[in-house]
Symmetry: C2
Subunit: 345 residues, 2 copies
DNA sequence: CCGATTTACTAAACCGATTTCATTCCGGAT
DNA sequence: ATCCGGAATGAAATCGGTTTAGTAAATCGG
């Protein structure tokens, strides 16, 4: 056999003339329990043999995997990419790894992913999906997994959340449009499964109400959170009579789709129709005209969520259960040039 | 104690009146070795007790983690998001999980990540980074990890790669510009650590050579692969005399930065300067003017890489070592409206 | 109907670490 | 000289599965 087995802790122990227990202690960085001299000798032999710990074995015994699950609706969407980036940066600082799961907005896939993650003994779970169901998260919690929700809340689930104030934000957007004189404002929403979706609509209604404008069901264009849906929403908008003078698209993909649809329809922004998007992206500034949108702090949300999870993990085994926290971040409306007073009829 | 321990395979075995071995076989879906009746009884009791396997324990013994590592330069960048999406979709079909690592183009971080991944006993590793070094990958391979490189190749490393033909693609871009009559064409490149970067420049040179145009060092604007760098590259471009009439930005971030810089400088595209970008994004079509760019098939590359990795993993333990493969995907140039013949001086 | 397989199944070893508990060793207090 | 407490260390149990080796019973061919 010309292929050498990779050295285990046992090998290091033998080579250093100590027991596995000592090697374990030294390599885990436990100060007490060994002479500086012994510690150094162990470290040297480990290095010399090219020893690398097997975290799988370590996790089995210690019941900690130092791994968390990250569930996203769509990694390819830069908004979720931002969340992933924030989560990863905070967690890997502390030696945690993140297992990525892409749900594609399928509850079935989401459930399957949670199950696999639980089997893999994750310590925590961060989810940014629009799952309307709580049970699979519940099951994870029952098996000792700490759950933190990002971007959306799941009714009936006792878990930390990191979100923006979707109601207030949407209200501000629509308020801005109203102040410019718009009276018929359409909104493109998702399927209303997620709270962010529902809350954005609520904010829209609230703004209208505050300005004494009747809520018109026909002006809410329900779509699918994807570009395709945004584009088709524009088609429906064109059939409205009188045609709305302003439009609020409630996520980045639909904003993009709306832009495509509007361009195809030949509607000039903001002369013929005002538009406010969501999930601000750098390229919004490069559109013609530069697009106003809500800046949804994806990276920060991910970072904060990871941070919350870490402190929760650190506080395990405490006498008192930590109460759940609902963190709310700022989501400013960045105004560029896609809104203007409505055209004179 | 009001808190019940989660059931183990032992518990299921006892409850079903069989041995652990039988439970293991049944749940692993091994047909032979148990009566359909026994199998069913085991499955039922497992379900009744709410049993969930501990993959950590399984992995320890079986020496397979069904987990692969995915190293990306920047998850927040939609190009890498696309790769991640492709990888995840292919792998999770087969029950594999993916651990995400963000290198942020730091070799040091990349090394640290590889180490952690190896410790976590990943079965394979897919990397889409611009690491110039091979040693950490080498070390992973020595420890039995199958490595597949995406988007870039690492000299001195014996590993499968999935890329596009960067030379030919760049050559086509510059050829297109030359055919329109441009003679002074600038190129914005990265730091030249990665092969994709170097090959794109080579393609540029080749196109020039083929058209009998001298290569001018001053026209290659070396940047950092980020938007910031693209923007500053434009500043340097403006100082060139005579000013180039066309510009080729070699990745999505720099393309975006160039767009910002050009807008700030007030240069009209394509009247005053032609521009071709890279890593086509949907929003390129929404710019003013719609931007021509190379479509880099991120999702597909990820998918193919994952596929390659899977077949490699499946073929482990075979007598003959599988030879490395270098898969090359198509990267079409999508022409929109950002190029035109150079302005008459 | 008998020896030879084959099949269903179990007991026990094993994977490679962590953790518990016992032991040894030491200097200092009595 | 003796006793004591704490620090250093090691032996062995443990985590929860998979895998191997072995056994008893069922099946088969002639």
């Amino acid at each position: 056999m010309e292929w050498r087995r990779r050295p285990t802790m046992e090998d290091v122990a033998k080579a250093a003339g100590v027991s596995k227990a000592t090697v374990s202690r030294v390599l885990a960085g436990i100060e007490s329990g060994s002479t500086p001299a012994t510690a150094e000798r162990v470290r040297q032999t480990a290095l010399r043999l090219g020893y690398v710990v097997n975290s799988i074995a370590a996790s089995l015994r210690s019941r900690q995997s130092f791994t968390i699950g990250l569930l996203l609706a769509d990694v390819a969407n830069p908004f979720f990419g931002g969340i992933a980036s924030g989560v990863e940066s905070r967690l890997s600082q502390t030696g945690y790894s993140v297992i990525l799961g892409n749900t594609g907005n399928s509850l079935e896939r989401e459930r399957a992913l949670v199950r696999v993650l639980v089997e893999k003994q994750i310590d925590g779970l961060i989810a940014a999906t629009s799952a309307a169901s709580a049970e699979h998260f519940h099951e994870a919690q029952e098996r000792g997994v700490q759950v933190v929700l990002v971007d959306s809340d799941v009714p009936g689930l006792e878990a930390d959340t990191v979100t923006i104030d979707n109601r207030a934000t949407a209200e501000a957007v629509v308020g801005h449009l109203l102040e410019q004189g718009h009276r018929r404002i359409a909104i493109v929403t998702g399927p209303m499964d997620a709270t962010f979706d529902r809350h954005r609509l609520e904010g829209y209604r609230r703004a209208l109400a505050r300005h004494g404008i009747a809520y018109d069901e026909a002006l809410v264009l329900r779509a699918d959170l994807l570009a395709e849906g945004g584009e088709r929403a524009v088609d429906r908008l064109l059939e409205l009579d009188p045609r709305p003078t302003a439009l609020f698209a409630t996520n980045n993909m639909m904003t993009q789709g709306v832009l495509v649809g509007l361009r195809r329809a030949g509607l000039r922004i903001p002369d013929e129709i005002s538009l406010v998007g969501f999930d601000d992206q750098d390229w919004y500034a490069l559109c013609h005209p530069p697009l106003s949108a809500v800046l949804n702090p994806a990276y920060e949300m991910g970072h904060v969520a990871a941070d919350r999870l870490l402190t929760r993990l650190a506080g395990r085994g405490e006498r008192v259960e930590q109460p759940v926290e609902h963190l709310v971040l700022d989501a400013p409306l960045v105004l560029r040039a896609s809104t203007a007073p409505p055209p004179q009829a």
